[in-house]
Amino acid sequence: MEFTTQLLYPIDQILLAVMIFSIMFGMGASLTIDDFKTVLRYPRGILIGFLSQFGLMPFFAYGLAVFLNLPPAYAISIILIGCLPGGTTSNMFAYFARGSVALSIAMTTASTIMALIMMPILLEFYTQEFTSALSAELQLAGTGTEFVIPTGNIIASLILVLVPVAMGMFLRAKSQVWAKTAEDTAGFMGIIVIIYLIGTAFARHSGLMLQTPVEIYIAAVCVGLLGFLFGFWMSRLFRLSPIFQRAISLETGIQNGPIAFAIILLSFAEPVQSQMLWLAILYSTFIVITSSFITLYYRRVGKFDYEIYKNTTIHNRLFGDEYVSHYPDGFLPKRIEHDPSQGFTPGQVREKK
């Protein structure tokens, strides 16, 4: 599939830049220094989250690219998406999925910083065979020279998107009220711009959706779904509590789309750029839909354990940290009976019978 016209017009590129800026600014406005401290409070959760975000996700993305036999530019794009840090929307989804919001925020924070180191390494590692294929393709067409992953540019773009985050954090430190307004406004603007971009992209390139091979769709949908699924199972395997399982699952599947846009726009040239961008747009669209359904599902299955968690937390809040909530025998299901977050807090020791 070839792009005969440019996917984005200059005006769209400006809008996209504005969107990236405002979303990252909003992300910063929602963060405090305390959030970085929270990272230290959940070392186990963060570690498992780290493993699934930078271990599982890039591997799945690579696997999909190989398994679906994707054209090199798309393959590189999906691997790029797989290597991204978590996005702020995952915090909102974690909240509604009755997951641990604190862990979700901590994971987003940690992964955004870790991405500076991890992304270049992972990209280098997973994209090797695709870059050489792409170089061969370009030389065959007689247009380009050797294609290499622009590692320096990627790091530069990552740092660039962290600037508005820092600005947002600065605002938050100055005025909480303004930060809240900025956060909401940014979220609202982000939605409007993305709806506009998708709308115009579809309107201008009406044939594009039909032309796009089915593998591309499968890749765009599945990379998120695999993240949800294995993020959940991995944290379950390590016997984390259900609220952490749900948070890690969503955090793994939901990547920071705006960073992908920024990197693609700033580091890659045509004709590769449009193809990569198209996959990123598809991923961003489908991830909202899939994570909505996953959230609704988690919300339902997590109702009971979350209510117990909540009730126990409030008992400790009001009756003191030493208070132990003794639920009747057989009330707690086996799965969460000895879960530290579900019937007693870490400071308490329950005698096992």
Binding site: G187, I191, I314, L318, F331
Partner: protein, 643 residues
Amino acid sequence: MENRIVAENMAQLFKRAAEQYGDLPAFATRIEELQWEPVSFREMYNRGLNLATGLIELGVEANEHVGLFGDNRFEWILTDCGIQLCGAADVPRGRDITDTELVYIINHAEIKIAFAETRQLAERILSLKPELPTLKTIILHEEADLYDDNLLHISTVESTGKNLRADGDRRAEQRMEAINPDDLFTLIYTSGTTGKPKGVMLSHANIMSQMKVIPIELSCTDRVLSILPVWHIFERVFEVYTISCGVCTYYTSIRTLGDDLKNVEPTFMGSAPRLWESLHHRILKKVKESHPMRQLLFHTAYFLSKQYKSSLYFLFDKRLKIERQSMLKRILLSPFYALRWVVVTPFYGFFNVAVLEPVRLSAGGSLKATVSGGGALPNEIDRFFNFIGIPVLEGYGMTETSPVIAVRTDRELVIGTVGPVVADTDVRIVDIESGKTLFPDENHPENGRGLRGEIHVKGPQVMQGYYKEKELTEKTIQNGWLNTGDLGMITFNNCLKILGRTKSTIVLLSGENLEPEPIEMRLTQSPLIEHCMIVGQDKKHIGALIVPDLDGLRGKGIEVANLNDAVVNNEAKKLIRAEIKKTISLYNGFKRHELIQDFTLLPENFRNGVELTSLYKMKRHIIQDKYADEIESMFKHESTGVK
């Protein structure tokens, strides 16, 4: 996960709750903002047994009436537990009880032992002692240093009982065994506005039947915030229900409600319309003060939610259906509503999450639902909260039916009604004039749905009668059917809608009762007023519909040819306004809530046989229906003069 306990009587309920829920907190009292003291189900039962034994030692007999005068606090429920466990019944009232009521109730119920919450209340009762021949002992909840043989602190009674039980005293258990389902568990005196209070006799079977039929699911993971007076049956039934479900009740107060909502994060609450009014006001004020961007977001979210919810209400047949609607029309319209739902849903999803959730958090984010009772919830507020996603379940009941007759549930949430009638309960709609049953009656189309009449109830929750008021009881309950005195209808989707009262008592929004007749009588004595009807059910204040007396007006020198002339005559209005102000005043012995804030002159006289009965009594509901618009507009704008 539901595991509510349905016991044979209150005493068994306390016992089984202790066995089943053990160390879980049952009640919690606020000491500081983040320091609360829990009492477990087991502890409550054990202390209840001690108190019961202490009471038996003081001479409390089985089925004796024990006074319980005080408001929400742990000692209240402990006292209730003690009284139930020794097989007696309590006679509850709040601290705001008047001296006259105290004397009447203590003497009428032949109370020998009474609990009083505060020192002040105890001193008031002591000062009335000469008028209270039966009263022997007062037991205090609060610490005070004026104890003697007949004035004890609750802990003294408890420790007496505790020592006796340590020596093997098991009289409380024997009393518990002997309780009959038909024995009274409480005798609640309702404050009549005219005449004397009436003692409503509620049995163990009455209250336990409610545990079976309350259609709200609660479990040990829920938290209930208690703000309404516990001696009122509406809050009381929830207190009993929370024990049945193993839920912890947290006592709050108006002063600390805001903080407590935030800290306790209740999942359920019994509430009164007033609470929702003030919350509604607070939310809107907050929205108005916020950044324009946030205002826009809120209004968009509210609009979308309205579209989303009303589409669903249509599709699932949950709209208020007073009139019969054709099936065909519904089927034809359904695709449009379905389409609207599909279009709105994704946007609603986003805005619900991003904008409405923070609003819900400000109202205590964990609330699954709340039941509003004790008065009608204004439609606008009802809709507001349901649209922003806090389901307010309006219920209907009365002390005489311990109390629930009907309540909306999540599944049967039809705004504008009080939901379907609860299980095991029958409701009849009876024609007021002829006394014939309108619903259910197969001779009427749709079995009589949509016809208005008086609501009669039959079921296990109906009281045993009014204490020592045989005649009144027989008048109120006939063949097991209790006449509620309320006007209502069954809608076409089987919900009960309350339309007003057939009895003339007006209940204001604030919960104050007033009888319109004395005011009307006073007003019609004026030469300027021919007829007059007081309205104001569920409003903030009362208003009057007035038919002016033409001769009287002419006598004052105002030239009016007919009633239509008088209505538009400003001189006449001014004169009547002055007359009302003069007649219905605090000076003339009327209470503040009885003052008329606004009035409307009617252009037509009341006619015999239409608006008036053959005995010249006003048919209130007919007049109310005829002048519904006038009444509405009277309460719409601010009061225009008479103060």
